[in-house]
């Protein structure tokens, strides 16, 4: 529960932290696109290299970024196992037979192993780059960025400001609600509740007495929060100003060029495959 990595800002004063959040959002989209476009290890290596440079520049400890992957560890292992067990391809990448073992629908092949490694790397890169965004961008800056990028929707009378504020508050409430869930679980455990053993059905049923108090307390919380916001003169975006104005500076230009170079590079690698691993997809 304590390892909820999403939305946790890692305060530091670095090049990456100071980038315009809009740029970081667009960069993330470009990066994700690049990861999905990359169909060989060179493409992924290029992405990994850029990500590594970004992590170094951001001064976020490497272990912290890796911890984000731990959150989806189950998914990663599951994907890898499925790939290794069910891939029947006969591609040969190194000496030895293409198929090591086969039984009914199961098979362990060279192609399966390579593909599993590829997918694991791809997933890890995805999660790591997404977590870099939240590590280096305060939620307020992030929602400001989203609000700014979604400005065109205002012309369609979509309340972009309210959406951004709601998102912002949701992010700041994550640690609060995590703590609350833990308290409720402890209270239930103290009275003999058991969340860890029994059938899946039994365990799902055990969650109900956690969810209901959590829901009730969240509603109370929302009311108090509304009161506190009203008291601090909140009235939507009527006459509202912003303390933090987004500005596109020289750093952002460098970031932009870097992102553009990455996407172009990966596309080029896809069109002109290089090396012995280039053709496996």
């Amino acid at each position: 529960m304590k390892d909820v990595a999403f939305g946790q800002y890692y305060p530091a004063d670095s090049f990456v932290h100071r980038l315009d959040p809009r740029l970081k959002l667009l960069f993330l989209i470009a990066f994700i696109t690049a990861i999905f476009l990359a169909d060989n290890f060179y493409g992924l290596a290029a992405c990994a290299l850029v990500l590594f440079a970004v992590i170094l520049a951001s001064r976020v400890p490497f272990g912290k970024v890796l911890r984000a992957v731990r959150g989806i560890l189950f998914l990663v292992i599951f994907t890898a196992v499925i790939q290794v067990l069910f891939n029947h391809g006969d591609e040969v990448y190194w000496g030895g037979p293409a198929v090591y073992w086969e039984w009914k629908i199961f098979a362990v092949t060279q192609e399966g192993i390579v593909l599993a490694i590829f997918l694991v790397l791809r997933l890890a890169l995805l999660v790591m780059c997404s977590s870099m965004l939240t590590y280096t961008t305060t939620p307020v800056a992030l929602t400001d960025g989203i609000e700014s990028l979604l400005t065109p929707l205002k012309w369609l009378h979509i309340p972009v400001h309210v959406l951004a504020l709601v998102m912002n508050m949701a992010l700041s409430l994550i640690p609060v609600l995590t703590g609350e869930t833990e308290r409720i679980m402890n209270a239930q455990k103290a009275r003999g509740a058991d969340f860890e053993t029994g059938s899946i059905f039994h365990r799902i049923k055990a969650i109900v007495p956690i969810l209901i108090p959590l829901l009730v307390s969240s509603i109370d919380r929302a009311e108090e929060l509304g009161n506190a916001m009203d008291s601090r003169c909140y009235r939507g975006d009527i006459k509202r100003t912003k303390y933090k104005k987004l500005r596109f500076g020289w750093r952002d230009l460098i970031g932009f060029l870097l992102g553009a170079a990455l996407v172009t590079g990966v596309v080029l690698l896809r069109v002109y495959p290089v090396g012995f691993l280039g053709s496996f997809l």
Partner: protein, 281 residues
């Protein structure tokens, strides 16, 4: 000058037109009281005495059924409510339910942004507010990592950024540990003394009322006592009927007297210590 005045204010929760409030219902009966500018007033009362309703009526989070409320000579109406909310800052009970952002300075800026101040001034006000609560070193800190007392001081700073002339603390110390409580009361006392902010401190901790200029005791929606803290605590038999006790020092004096050690009925710790020392020698 009158900071705030309640004239014949009545209010009830629950069904309208009922003679007696139902369970969970509640009523304030023809309340009359005034607080002068610069005063430090404590409002004491047991759960359900109506003391929190008082705070919510004062800036129209709740609307009175009848009667008038005046703030610095301006009648509280639907039209003047936003002007009056700038003058009255309310700090609520649970610090977690008052933060709208995850980073300290973003949260403190919220109120100032709402009233449309220019950027530079918001920056100055954040600096002023954080200094006033002794949290200037935490400007870029993550709120969820702060202690309860620190979080509540940030909530006070968020209110101070609006430069209110009246500050109402609605049981703002109830969820804190003794140390956090002391932090808050120290800050509030200093704001009252140095910034000349009128303070209305709503609490059920008798100790906290000791530092006030005047104390008001509420019971079942009515003001039942109004005096200096010393005057109120001298009437302990009467306090007991409202389910209120004496502050610890009052209990000690009472205990000593009952045990045959003659000390004067004082709320001054130094004086009491001196008298006890005399008795012992």
């Amino acid at each position: 000058m009158r900071a705030i005045e309640f004239r014949d204010v009545s209010f009830s929760y629950g069904e309208e037109g009922e003679a007696e409030p139902q369970i969970g219902g509640f009523r304030l009966n023809h309340l009359n009281f005034a607080v002068e500018e610069g005063e430090f007033v404590a409002v004491l009362g047991h759960n359900g005495s109506g003391k929190s309703t008082l705070a919510r009526l004062s800036n129209r989070l709740l609307e009175a059924d009848s009667g008038e409320i005046e703030v610095f000579g301006t009648l509280l109406t639907k039209k003047t409510v936003y002007e009056i909310r700038k003058q009255i800052g309310i700090v609520f009970q649970n610090p977690d339910n008052q933060t709208v952002a995850s980073i300290v300075e973003d949260d403190v800026a919220f109120g100032a942004e709402n009233i449309g101040l220019p950027r530079e001034e918001i920056g100055e006000r954040i600096a002023f507010a954080l200094k006033a609560v002794g949290m200037e070193a935490y400007r870029n800190a993550t709120i969820s990592r702060l202690s309860g007392g620190q979080k509540q001081r940030i909530a006070i700073a968020g209110v101070l950024a609006l430069k209110p002339r009246i500050m109402i603390l609605d049981e703002s110390t109830a969820m804190l540990d003794p140390r956090g409580r002391r932090e808050i009361i120290d800050v509030v006392e200093r704001l009252n003394r140095e910034e000349k902010i009128t303070v209305i401190l709503i609490t059920h901790f008798m100790e906290e009322a000791l530092r006030a200029d005047r104390a008001i005791v509420m019971n079942r929606g009515e003001i039942v006592m109004q005096d200096t803290p010393a005057g109120i605590f001298a009437r302990h038999e009467e306090l007991l009927t409202y389910n209120l006790t004496l502050p610890r020092i009052g209990m000690i004096v009472k205990g000593l007297n009952a045990g045959g050690i003659p000390v004067s009925d004082t709320l001054d710790i130094e004086k009491l210590a001196g008298e006890i020392a005399e008795c012992v020698s």
